[in-house]
């Protein structure tokens, strides 16, 4: 083993940092809210490609404003020729309105467009999707809580859940801060983050438990540090390989996967951080000792 790093010296300061991060994220979520995409807000999304380089966002917006679509947002999407148009449309039941939009754009800006993607989500479906997304995240947190409870003791379970909670809240907080879009794939990313962060925490906890049996005279404050150090190279290597994979999705996987991979990158970063600086201090705080483990063996 190489030199031991004194992770435990910074428990207090990073506890404060984590606390502030969570507080800030909650404030952001409460007051700024999340930028929900059509999946969760309902409405229409059109991705189109133009072959005419002179067309600007303003052209498109002006053309679309001639039809009464309400608040239309037009953005560049990835390459210079791709645009993303979004609006909330109320009279959803006219099956032809996408065609009307197509005709409008073509008649005012010329036939140089290709509709690459159209998504149209009714208000009922979007609220259901939002509900099932929230349930899915809640369910996964509960499942993890129960799993750790079965495998370890409640102190560990609490530590792991606090870490997960932190990762999910802070990731969503960052999405709120930068007004990044929340869609179905972000929910998938958050669930994967939950799995990943748990994975990281469990590996350290596994070592803590083993060391509790091995060194019965060492206090938990020092013991967590030993365990973190012993698993450190694994923690770093796994985070690194996962990040390598995620960065390659982020840079080469196309626009659609950008949000997903960005959320995952944040999640891997915070997941690794929280396994060390949230999960372990909680074990210290709850004064986990060899007795905690022995009690289990007797049962």
């Amino acid at each position: 083993m190489i030199k031991k790093l004194p992770f435990n010296k910074f428990y207090k300061i990073f506890n404060l940092v984590s606390f502030l991060l969570i507080l800030l994220s909650i404030l952001l979520l409460l007051f700024k809210g999340l930028n929900f995409g059509v999946d969760f807000k309902g409405g229409t999304l059109i991705e189109l490609r133009t072959f005419d380089k002179n067309i600007t966002i303003k052209n498109l917006r002006d053309s679309l404003n001639q039809i009464n679509l309400g608040d239309v947002s037009v953005k560049k999407f990835g390459s210079d020729n791709d645009y993303l148009i979004k609006f909330e449309k109320k009279n959803f039941n006219n099956p032809n309105f996408i065609n009307e939009i197509k005709e409008k754009i073509i008649s005012s800006l010329g036939n140089t467009f290709e509709f690459r993607r159209v998504e149209n989500v009714g208000p009922k479906v979007s609220s259901e999707l939002l509900k099932s997304g929230i349930i899915a995240i809640g369910l996964s947190l509960t499942a993890m809580l129960i799993y750790i409870w079965i495998r370890f003791e409640w102190q560990f379970s609490l530590g792991a859940i606090a870490a997960l909670f932190h990762d999910v809240i802070v990731t969503l907080g960052i999405f709120s801060l930068f007004s990044l879009e929340i869609n179905l794939s972000i929910v998938a990313a958050v669930l994967t983050i939950v799995g990943y962060s748990m994975n990281d925490t469990v590996v350290i906890f596994d070592r803590v438990r083993e060391n509790l049996k091995k060194y019965s005279d060492i206090k938990i404050f020092e013991l967590t540090n030993i365990s973190i150090n012993e698993t450190l190279s694994r923690t770093i290597i796994t985070s690194l390989t996962t990040l390598l994979a995620l960065f390659s999705i982020f840079f080469f996987g196309g626009e659609i996967l950008k949000g997903f991979s960005f959320a995952m990158i944040l999640g891997v970063f915070f997941g690794t951080y929280s396994s060390i600086y949230i999960a372990n201090p909680i074990l210290v705080f709850l004064q986990v000792s060899p007795k905690t483990i022995l009690k289990e063996d007797k049962d």
């Binding site: 998504e119 998938a188 994975n199 390659s248």
Partner: protein, 519 residues
């Protein structure tokens, strides 16, 4: 942990080879190859349209209540009970009154659980078809929760059949039509990049009736005012139905040679032909309205009795609209109107672009991870990499075997699996390094390295699996694809780490057990 029997080695090798073959079958063109299975591409990768339709069951419920009025009347009359003042309230309640002295008998009949003809009992749900309330001599019935479910299910089944016929008529490529819940239907149309025609066709109930236009109140059946399709005029139409869409055998668009108009020709079944003949022979000079979804398409004046059982609908059609009308008539009416509540369409170009960028990202991610592992662990990195490649083959092989659907998030799941799959090997290798410190015998050190890291590896993978399972249950469409690859990836990872990598490690370590600094 390092010992493998010959049978085990054989099993591991053949299992791996099998899935490598299945994996490779994705790239063979011929169907003669033993493994002719191919992975399915999701709509987001091959392009196509996804529509979620919701059945509006309100009219069906009202109709069912309406239909039950004569049944109730007749049923109780046979038992010498007179019911009166039938009424339908809020499209939801059926009201009727009875004499005070009969109330308890009616109640008994309605609550009967054995062979209840009038208020069917579902023993499975411990519920009747109708729930009811009695206020003095007034009965108030409404469909119970399960009664409603039965209605919804049956209208969903009918709608599914009609939708299937309509979609098949258009001739799209391998459509996928599925029920969801009890009032929704999913329609997936691969390769279709403009679903507007199909949306138009599915948006029509296509309830066709032939009814006389009448003057004043000459009709005992009742009448209603209906608009013409083009909005030009209104007419008073009898509620008596001469013919309905059910009587149609066939319908086709054609060109009328005399008027040079596009028309729809139809032919009737025997019952329909008889009724049509009778109505047209007694109604010469009257106007017969052809009503589709409460709008009059046309109302020709009857010139002659038509007994051939075939006829013609004219009415300002283009060839396209005549074709669509004929198609709707052939495929039959929907039991209730449908609303399109979700639509996702991906053009084929975007699909191909997504595949390309997904494959590039996979290749680059794979390359980076492989390089990293070799740099970090040398020969064991190589073992981990061979395992990783085989893991990828196994993963895609299993997806192919089950003909699973690969989506763009699914590809992301594969790339993520590549990144996380090395975790198990890293855990083991790091543990072995620790074990070597205090252990002279390399074989023992490797063995206990594998043994002691087992719980951590299992725990770590089970947690990810839990997340994948929840995603699979809760997620929809492309996200489901992600959860499938992530979940299957965990199993292939565990297999490849504990069988393939361990086998390779054991071979290498046994041969070099006297070397210093093996890992």
């Amino acid at each position: 942990m390092l010992y493998f029997s010959k049978i085990r080695i054989f099993l591991i090798t053949s299992f791996t080879l099998l899935f490598v073959c299945i994996f490779l079958s994705n790239f063979t063109k011929s169907d003669n190859f033993i493994f002719n299975k191919k992975i399915n591409l999701g709509l987001d990768l091959q392009g196509g349209s996804y529509l979620l339709l919701e059945i509006n069951n309100r009219p069906v419920i009202t109709q069912k209540l309406q239909n039950s009025i004569p049944t109730f009347k007749k049923f109780f009359k046979e038992k010498n009970i007179n019911l009166k003042n039938f009424k339908i309230l809020d499209d939801n309640f059926l009201l009727f009154e009875a004499n005070e002295d009969k109330i308890s008998i009616i109640q008994e009949i309605l609550e009967d659980k054995e062979d209840n003809f009038i208020n069917e009992y579902y023993p499975r749900f411990k519920s009747h078809k109708f729930d009811f309330l009695v206020e003095q001599n007034l009965f108030k019935l409404n469909f119970s929760k399960y009664g409603l479910i039965e209605i919804k299910k049956s209208s969903q089944n009918q709608a599914l059949e009609t939708i299937r016929r309509r979609v098949d008529e258009i001739g799209t490529n391998e459509p996928n039509i599925l029920k969801r819940g009890n009032d929704r239907i999913v329609v997936e149309l691969p390769g279709l990049d403009d679903p507007s025609r199909i949306k138009n066709l599915l948006g029509k109930t296509a309830n066709l009736t032939f009814r006389f236009i009448i003057k004043g109140s000459e009709e005992t059946f009742g009448s209603e005012i209906l608009e013409f399709e083009d909005g030009s005029e209104e007419a008073l139409v009898s509620k008596r139905i001469i013919l309905s869409g059910d009587n149609l055998l066939d319908a086709n668009p054609s060109m009328d040679t005399q008027s040079n108009e596009t028309v729809v020709n139809f032919s009737l079944d025997r019952v329909g032909a008889k009724r049509f003949g009778k109505a047209t022979s007694t109604g010469i000079g009257k106007r017969l309205a052809i009503v589709l979804d409460e709008k009059i398409i046309s109302a020709p004046v009857i010139q002659d009795a038509i007994v051939t059982g075939s006829g013609q609908i004219s009415g300002d059609f283009t060839f396209q609209s005549a074709t669509d009308l004929a198609l709707l008539l052939r495929s039959g009416a929907l039991p209730a109107p449908l609303n399109i509540i979700e639509e996702r369409t991906v053009g084929p170009d975007l699909g191909q672009d997504s595949i390309n960028s997904g494959v590039i990202a996979l290749a680059i991610g794979f390359f980076l991870v492989i390089c990293f592992m070799v740099l970090k662990y040398r020969i064991f990195g190589l073992i981990a990499n061979i395992t990783l490649i085989l893991n990828l083959f196994l993963l895609v092989g299993i997806l192919t075997l089950f003909e699973a659907t690969l989506t763009l998030p699914g590809i992301a799941g594969i790339i993520l699996t590549v990144g996380m799959a090395v975790d198990a090997n890293v855990l083991i290798f790091e543990r072995i390094k620790e074990e070597i410190v205090g252990e002279k015998n390399l074989l023992v050190a490797f063995d206990s390295g594998y043994e002691k890291s087992k719980t951590a590896v299992l725990d770590a993978n089970i947690t990810t699996l839990l997340a994948a399972i929840i995603l699979f249950i809760m997620g929809s469409g492309p996200i489901k694809g992600f959860s499938v690859t992530l979940g299957v990836g965990i199993f292939t990872t565990l297999f490849s780490v504990y069988f393939i990598a361990r086998l390779l490690t054991s071979i290498y370590v046994t041969r070099n057990k006297n070397k210093e600094k093996l890992i």
